[in-house]
Amino acid sequence: MWLIAGNTLREAARQRFFQFLLLLAFTLTFGARWLRDFNFGAPELKFLADCGFGAMAFLGAALTIAATAQLFFSEVDNRTALTLLAKPVWRAEFVLGKLLGVAALAAVFCALLTGLLSLVLAWREAELVRLLPDAVAPGGGVSHAMVALGGLMQWLRLLVLAAFTLLVATFAQSQLFSVVTGFLVLVVCHLQHLAQDAYVRAGSAAGLVASALISSVFPDFQVFQIADSLAAADLPATGDVLRVTLYALGYSAAAAGLAVVSFRRREI
């Protein structure tokens, strides 16, 4: 399983497309520093962080969905899965190996970008402090723990997304279908809280059932917003972080389990 994961990661690392996405994300994060060069203190740092995380969220989602579908179908379509599964390998190992490979890819992506964002923020903060000594209130500076937590949340979100996309890929016939469905899942998961609102307000029984169904099947990506600030004072409690982590792992495990079951039946 680890071998398959490693091989999957190696395949991704040697692909131009993914190298390009990484470069693009780097540029965006770094370039945000020049995007608005009027010094307006602490809010500017927040703006930088939002830019960085925005790039991470958007490009990360694109990367994850494309990578999951592409890495899965490259095995099936190129018939390399035939040779691999003719070795003493469980089907479950194959599916979980793919998921781990994509998870590792997303982790590398998030870690690199979070690190870079931290650097950019620290640098800009130092500059701001020098230019406008009282722009950044004492204690109102950048909390790098908060930035790291933001990165972790991004990764958890991508992990859930990868597991769902993989589940779709195991029964889909084409890569395109998996990619499109992956994006739909992403949208649904983001708008999930609307469904929950509807669930509360639903007048009709049918609407009630539908919204209840959606909100129990799909995870709510709003829960990953717990690191939406830069101030150390806003650092959420460890319990909250753990709860969100378990939430993400639980959904990923469930989707991965279903993917294993669905892949066991697939003819290759």
Partner: protein, 299 residues
């Protein structure tokens, strides 16, 4: 040719056992079904080379995939060394070369074989040594560091064979191993297969090159539209019992007439006289030796 391998009598299970195997594929939207394998049963004894023959689309590759647990049978079942296909343990002692194989194009030949070796549980120095061994064995030593995407069709078959052999399995399943391989290469492959047999390995092979199968296999089975239509020893199936053929120096026509008369005087008949020919394959092999090959392996 000749003696069948040791019999499975002494409690050792057959290398391959296929019983009443049926496979239907759903084709089209209206639940139309296509029977690719139709009640096929045969067994392969340990230590023999078994040929699975048949025209295109007769179900050879499907039978092999069912055997390896890559497809679910509709009915019937198969086992490898007594372990039912579908269990992971059944695949522990099998090397498989798929038809028209394709490999991770982003790896080099050596990395590829290392990867599959690891998948089979090899590691460390044993793995490295074994990888070098099989790469040399299949004749790719000069191109092992190139990416697989730059390989030719025949080289893909060779690296596929290396991958199948890396864990030194007792059973080798080769689906058209010589497709796209030049005559010298396929002769080398035939030699290799015979060498494996000499070491007690069992081989299941499919091919359209009947000449090659004939020289290689102990027994064959012939499939047609999913059904097993013939099975047996090559010498039994292809031999013409009670008949004989000669090859001599060139004879003048009066000597041929005398020979014919002599045979007729004893109540026999001389049925065919034709100039002896070498097979084109042998001519090719005589001209294109290993020396010519080394240009390909030059860096």
């Amino acid at each position: 040719m000749g003696a069948p391998g040791p019999d499975g009598a002494a409690g050792t299970p057959p290398a391959i056992e296929i019983r009443g195997l049926v496979k239907d594929f759903a084709v089209g939207l209206r639940g139309l079904r296509l029977r690719a394998v139709d009640h096929v049963s045969f067994a392969v004894r340990p230590g023999e080379i078994f040929g699975l023959l048949g025209p295109n689309g007769s179900g050879k590759s499907t039978t092999i995939k069912l055997l390896l647990g890559l497809l679910e049978p509709t009915a019937g079942g198969c086992a490898i060394f007594g372990v039912p296909s579908g269990k992971v343990e059944a695949r522990r002692d099998v090397g498989y070369l798929p038809e028209a194989p394709n490999f991770y194009r982003f790896l080099s030949g050596r990395e590829l074989v290392v990867f599959y070796g690891r998948m089979c549980g090899l590691a460390g120095a044993a793995l490295r040594q074994r990888v070098e061994e099989v790469i040399t064995l299949v004749g790719l030593a000069g191109s092992a560091d190139r990416r697989v995407e730059t390989y030719s069709k025949g080289m893909l078959q060779r690296i596929g064979l290396a991958q199948a052999l890396v864990h030194d399995p007792r059973l080798l399943i080769l689906d058209e191993p010589t497709a796209g391989v030049d005559p010298v290469g396929s002769a080398e492959m035939a030699e290799l297969i015979l060498a494996l047999k000499a070491r007690g390995k069992t081989v299941l092979i499919t091919s359209h090159l009947l000449g090659q199968i004939e020289d290689l296999c102990d027994r064959v089975a012939i499939l047609d539209r999913g059904r097993l239509v013939a099975e047996g020893n090559v010498s039994e199936l292809a031999g013409a019992p009670g008949r004989l053929s000669f090859e001599t120096d060139a004879l003048p026509s009066e000597e041929i007439a005398a020979l014919r008369a002599w045979l007729e005087s004893r109540g026999r008949r001389l049925e065919s006289v034709a100039p002896a020919r070498r097979r084109l394959e042998d001519v090719f092999r005589a001209h294109v030796g290993r020396g010519a090959r080394s240009t390909e392996e030059k860096r």
